[in-house]
Amino acid sequence: MEPYTATEIMALTAGSLVQNNDILFAGTGLSMLAATVAKRIHAPDAIVFFETGGIDPSLEELPLAVADPRVMVGTSVNSGLADALSILGHPKFRTIAFLGAAQIDCYGNLNSTMLGTYENPEQRFPGSGGACDAASLAYGIIVFMQHEYRRFVNKLDYFTSPGWLSGYNSRREAGFLRGGPMAVVTNLGVLKFDDITKMMYLDQYYPFTDPETIALKTGFSLDISRAKKCSPPKEDELKMLRQEVDPQRLILGPMPG
């Protein structure tokens, strides 16, 4: 057993992808942890905002929802959806959105709406919320996924949020001005997208797994030739995450072991 959980390494890994002065569009759960990690370690001047309108809150307590009153305190501005969602596409800013999804395809397109069809629905998820907007308008998105075969699919049941569409230059050709997925952070590793084909490949795998296991849990053919082993979380970063970011383990869940 590793001395850290998958959730912990996911939060720390995703946080490390953020640059200083990035404007972070965070949901709740893991994305909130990742954003906080980013601000405390890698990008102190990064700004966190929520689609509900809370811009750069102090986050003394961890919000459990984007509409949590905890996102309304110490903010630069308290506004609303129109304002907040407009920031996503602002060309002046490197806006990075953290998104989760139920399904992802090899070009990073996402489904958070349903399985089946409107005529024959099999499962319902909450829907886009701001995910389609972030995926359409932001400078980049970072996706959190549980790495399961049924979630990494060849064809989405419902295409909620645009990634690299069908790869290559298709995203720009479709009319998007910028954006596209930068990375997928899963409970097994980090996946990125080829510069040319925009197809997903394995970039890093966590110390407790290996590329072949990850490929087997991926529903489409995955390039693992470029995979590097990820270092385990640094002691001080893990400590900061546990003691300062989520001491109640509201999102981190049970301690390892």
Binding site: P69, S79, R124, P126
Partner: protein, 319 residues
């Protein structure tokens, strides 16, 4: 100007009829107009057509109670308490409601277009997605009543030759907007504290606006600081005094969401029998906020009471 202050019973009876298109204010676990929503259930309104961006607890209750026929939405969930609302999920799978999916920005822009009298509004958001390619409402009902002829259209930018494709959206002008606010002046000026979500756009877009509020204050008082105010008095048709009127969702500066209640609801929502018992226990008997709050009890209300500096209940056990 006639007196707008009235009970939930009178507001719902006067202004909401079966089949109305209704915008719900608030967002997942915050400022849901719960007092009005419970009254809608008591008055057994039917075939409501909800238009929301991200809605949670209030929508769950209305769906579960069988008041809803149709929804346009971006998100149906109660945050961590039910990442997808159970009653929404069930109604969707059982096809007891018709659902049309949009994104939050799209829904917000549609409310804004309705509020501003814009004939339509355009965005790049959603190009190539199933939001622009798949349609939840049946073609037979499109163009009837409030249902727009087109969910949306993808067209070439008509003014910028290099603009490429854009998504054009129809405005929303709901029959009724339901808003829960912190303050109302006696004549109807409304002040929302904290985030306003899309409540202001929803209210301005609607034909009729019902606002429940924590406090009614003298109109002179609320006008001493008009920079803070959210809605002009003449926009508002009914003011319903409702302290804790958003419970079990939060109301910034007044109270937090109620994790006990929401966790309990999560359990009972998974089964129609237990949900019906919830209605019997929590909705049908209490026409006034006083009676409802007596049922909630001081113990839980004190737990969620907001700290005046923070606006929420610090240290609240939210597991």
């Amino acid at each position: 100007m006639t007196d707008k202050i009235m009970t939930a019973r009178k507001a719902v009876d006067t202004f909401i009829k079966d089949g109305d298109q209704i915008a719900l204010g608030g967002f997942t676990v915050n400022r849901n107009p719960m007092h009005i929503i419970r009254e809608i259930i008591r008055q057994k309104k039917k075939k409501l057509y909800l238009v929301v961006h991200s809605h949670g607890q209030g929508m769950e209750l209305l769906i579960g109670a069988g008041c809803v026929e149709r929804i346009e939405l971006a998100y149906g969930g109660v945050a961590r308490f039910a990442p997808t609302g159970y009653l929404f999920k069930k109604a969707f799978k059982d096809k007891t409601i018709e659902v049309e999916d949009y994104s939050n920005y799209q829904m917000t822009l549609r409310f804004m277009a309705g509020a501003m009298g814009l004939p339509f509004i355009a965005t790049k958001s959603g190009l190539e997605s199933d939001i622009v390619r798949k349609f939840g409402f049946s073609p037979q009902i499109r163009g009837k009543g409030k249902i727009p002829e087109h969910k949306l259209k993808v067209i070439n930018d008509p003014i910028n030759e290099d603009g490429g494709k854009v998504v054009v959206l129809p405005p929303l002008n709901p029959d009724v907007a339901l808003i829960h606010a912190q303050y109302a002046g006696e004549k109807g000026t409304i002040r929302i504290n904290g985030l306003s979500f899309a409540d202001i756009e929803q209210a301005k877009a609607a034909k009729t606006v019902i606002v429940s509020c924590e406090e009614i204050v003298p109109e002179d008082y609320i006008r001493q600081d008009p920079d803070r105010n959210s809605l002009a008095h003449f926009i508002v048709d009914a003011i319903v005094p409702a302290p804790f009127g958003a419970h079990p969702t939060a109301c910034h500066m007044y109270y937090d969401y109620d994790p006990n209640h929401l966790n309990y609801f999560k359990k009972i929502a998974q089964n129609q029998d237990s949900f019906n018992r919830y209605l019997d226990e929590w909705v049908y008997p209490f026409e006034t906020m006083e009676d409802y709050l007596t049922k909630v009890g001081f113990k839980d209300l004190l737990k969620i009471k907001a700290n005046s500096a923070l606006g929420y209940a610090p240290g609240l056990d939210r597991r």
